[in-house]
Symmetry: C2
Subunit: 107 residues, 2 copies
Amino acid sequence: MDLLKGTLDVLILRTLSDSPSHGYAVARAIREQSAETLIVEEGALYPALRRLEKRGLLKASWGRTDTGREAKFYALTAPGKKQLKQAMSDWDRYVEAMGLVLRGPQA
Amino acid sequence: MDLLKGTLDVLILRTLSDSPSHGYAVARAIREQSAETLIVEEGALYPALRRLEKRGLLKASWGRTDTGREAKFYALTAPGKKQLKQAMSDWDRYVEAMGLVLRGPQA
DNA sequence: TTGTATACCTAAAATTCTTATGCATAAATC
DNA sequence: GATTTATGCATAAGAATTTTAGGTATACAA
């Protein structure tokens, strides 16, 4: 399914909140955890990671994967953790508001 | 709150599924029903209505409001009803997938 | 050796939104 | 009476984020 524009950041932040990881693995985790529903294209992934790093929400460093490959690892910073909390709250509020319109106050 | 890009269409279709209405009233209904959370700017509203009409999901016609003002009324077409059903289903699936990533399988 | 998976990146195009602006009428307020 | 607010339509410029498509390189499996 196509990503809704604006939802990728929180997916990345949440995925990295478990443990630092590299881009390719983040995309795979999102795909797998969403039961193949949320497909993160690489053309969206890498620019998003750089945006988040530029905003100070992630810290990048080169390292090696389990299989010994070079990869750029990203870790949540303190502001990143704070932003994740906020973004998850925003998402919940958005879902609730959509529900009010789509299903009415009772649902 | 800013709209997530891609969620406006289903909001419009759902609002018009109650009864035909005009653009300004659709935006107001979305704002009110979402408890002032989803604010539809006019610069997003009118182009969206035209897009949906162009896709054959809405049918437009000029008429008069209760207060006697000229306004362009939009009604759901048969394909529009079908698309609303699909779009609501897509939204539910998206929310579920986001939940899987953000909160895990148990939640 | 050919394909598949891993791992990074970028550019062009598409989409959809916000912001800003314009026009016009009616109702409410000062 | 004049001004503001609300109603109602519309468009253009800019911003943001995505898809699509391409490139590079290594490792492993068929």
